[in-house]
């Protein structure tokens, strides 16, 4: 008998029934996880070591796919674009979300209306958002350049310019921060008011209260949003795809990692190579997440630990 069956045999009938109930209850989720998550993951890990062209049988080639990506210019370009996008998108959206959440935490009239307005962009489809921004960023007729022209400034080419295409994407990413705002709002509500009252008594100014009370108390929420934000930013796809017409241009300026992966898999049919790319990204995300978690002991304040 195995260890599990031995343990099972030693359990009382009531405990056995309870254990069985547990497994029956989680069975649908477990099956779904195995079929739709675990199996595809491990299958793609296997495929990353094969030459698997669509329509053919996968053939084991060892590390050839990983050696290939080291020499692949598109791999390095997409990694660079994605890294720059992440560095611009995540901190920027964090700062904006905290700022807006602090404004929405004020006791003002119609605050629920304001909260709804700021959350609305988050419920609009990413495709619709990207199409909308493609009009806003239009260098000839777009809203931004039209407003700049009113004050005599010739706006940049935005998505048609190699230098401005990526900043355009970053700016677009700052628009859909409604989800983060809601989370920060909840975090702000959890900060005891007494802390601010004591600070007021001690003569602390607004900035001091912000840096010494708000930020530390909000740090667990910031930590959570940072981890989620980085994971999401490293996998960005819809916005760049729509804005660049699926080409990653101009001149690969918006070729993100996921776009390159999609092209390899579904335009070139190189599923083995695309699987290798997917696993490299997975490792990068794991390492980055581990680094953020490791760093959290230096800057994340958990009140319960006191």
């Amino acid at each position: 008998m195995t260890l599990l069956t031995k343990r099972f045999a030693r359990m009382s009938p009531a405990a056995r029934r309870e254990a069985l109930t547990f497994y029956v209850c989680i069975l649908p989720w477990l099956l779904g996880f195995i079929i739709f998550v675990a199996y595809p993951m491990f299958r793609s890990l296997y495929l990353s070591f094969t030459n698997y062209q669509i329509g053919r049988t996968p053939i084991w080639i060892g590390m050839a796919n990983f050696e290939r990506l080291v020499q692949d210019g598109n791999f390095w370009q997409s990694l660079k674009v994605t890294a720059l996008y992440t560095l611009g998108s995540v901190p920027g959206s964090t700062i904006l979300a905290i700022g807006i959440a602090m404004l929405l935490a004020q006791k003002v009239r119609f605050v629920s209306v304001w909260r709804t307005i700021y959350f609305l962009p988050s419920v609009v489809s990413a495709v619709a958002v990207a199409v909308l921004w493609s009009y806003v960023f239009n260098p000839e007729y777009g809203l931004i350049n039209s407003l700049l022209a009113l004050v005599g400034i010739k706006g940049p080419g935005w998505v048609t310019s190699e230098d401005w295409a990526l900043p355009s994407l970053i700016i677009m990413s700052w628009w859909v921060i409604g989800g983060q705002i809601v989370i920060y709002l909840a975090g702000l509500k959890n900060i005891p008011n007494e802390f601010y009252e004591v600070a007021d008594i001690d003569g602390a100014g607004p900035w001091t209260k912000f840096w010494r009370i708000t930020v530390p108390m909000l740090s667990p929420t910031i930590f959570f949003n940072l981890v989620i934000g980085f994971i999401g930013a490293l996998q960005v796809f819809e916005g760049p795809w729509i804005l660049s017409g699926g080409r990653g241009g101009p001149n690969r300026a918006t070729l993100t990692y996921m776009m390159n992966l999609y092209k390899q898999g579904f335009e070139l049919g190189s599923l083995g190579y695309a699987s290798a790319l997917a696993w490299v990204l997975f490792v990068i995300i794991i390492i980055l997440t581990a680094l953020i978690i490791r760093s959290s002991s230096f800057w994340v304040y958990y009140e319960a630990k006191r």
Binding site: R17, T21, R56, G269
Partner: protein, 461 residues
Amino acid sequence: MYVHRLTRYYLVGLVITSLISALAVGFFLPRQVVAQDASVTITLGSWDDENGNRRHLAAIEDFQAEYPNIHVEIQPNPGGDWHSRILTLIAAGELPDIYMVDSSYIPLYVESGGLVNLRPFIEGENGFDPEELFYPSVYENGFYKGDPYVLNKDYSTVAVYANRSLFEAAGIELPQEGWTYDDLLDIAMQLTVDANGNNATSPDFDPENIVQYGMDHRGDWWRGFQTTIYSFGSHTISEDGTTLDGYLNSPETIAALEWMQDAVHKYHVAPTNNFILAQPGGVMPLFLEGQIAMVFGMGPWFLSMLEETPGFEYAILPMPHGPGGHHGAVCWAGFGMSPTSEAKDEAWLLLKALATEIGQRHYSEHALSAMPAMMEDKVDHPFWSTFIAEVEYLDPLDDLRNPYYLQCVGTPAGQQITAVLFGEEGANIDAAELVNSLLPEFQQCMDQQGMVESSAEEASS
């Protein structure tokens, strides 16, 4: 007891949910509509929108009248990424029996096992003589490595849409067959006008205030520019599809790129690629508004726009001759057969019908047909005649020489060569240096597909 009851309720709920889900899946699964007396049902995959599918339906109706025992069901996919869908269906083994194919993808689909070699069918009992039916240069665009895999539905040749009114106002005669790229530049300079009414030949011409351009260019669309490259006397890849060096960077290819680069930056007769990209509707609205006098049009697709603009006078001009002569590239779509079709004989009958009279009488209403017989009444038409005449000058497409040409060369070259050279920052870029800097990467992309395949062959041997 309580746990027992909960478990019972839960299990009952789970079973009921599973049954409902199974019923729902069965209800919503696509069902094949089988006519009562149909012995075979075959599927036709189409990327067309509603208008395009109307023509398919009309052709299918005529086909079914002739073959009442074969029922055809259309599987439309309008607006979606057709190529990715086809690759996915190839992987799943669920291709439609017959499906639409862009000629650029023929080599990749063949290498992926997604297309049937049609030679046995063409030369078989229910075949035909292609030389009697089709324009050879059009028919051969469905070939890969010497065998036919796709039969043509329709295609586009390149011609120049010209604003006749602007020509008349400038006192310029419409060019005829035999005109050159030098003539094109000369005419474009006369038709490029600034806000003060000076054209580009005038010493007072202000290139910062152009209100009317003489011509456009194909921007980042490499296929559109291939016509110019062929006319300058080169192709961009060797005939065996393995080598770019000496072709993509040949003196003739560089000369073609430099010609257009000068047209944009030195002579200012064409707008920058950035300007074109910024236009929501592309260049045709600018053409109709008189802001661009000549537009390289890939096909007759803008006829309806012209007809919807009353009073607009236009002419369709032949493509100019380059130093290498008069050559053209084609955009081409057709029908291929899936290797997984379980009714290949019936599928062949449909494919043949769509590519020949039954289908072509419907498709040729709005497009060019590979059958000269379908084009007879358009040969002298002021709009269609030039596009038809361009068939004579078609070159075999470079895309058909390598399964990965489009993805490794065509699309990147448009993004990183023509878009850059004809873009705002392209004035001082050395075309030869740019191409030579990118060529190794394009070659490596094609080779890497082959390298991995070689590794696989070594591993399996």
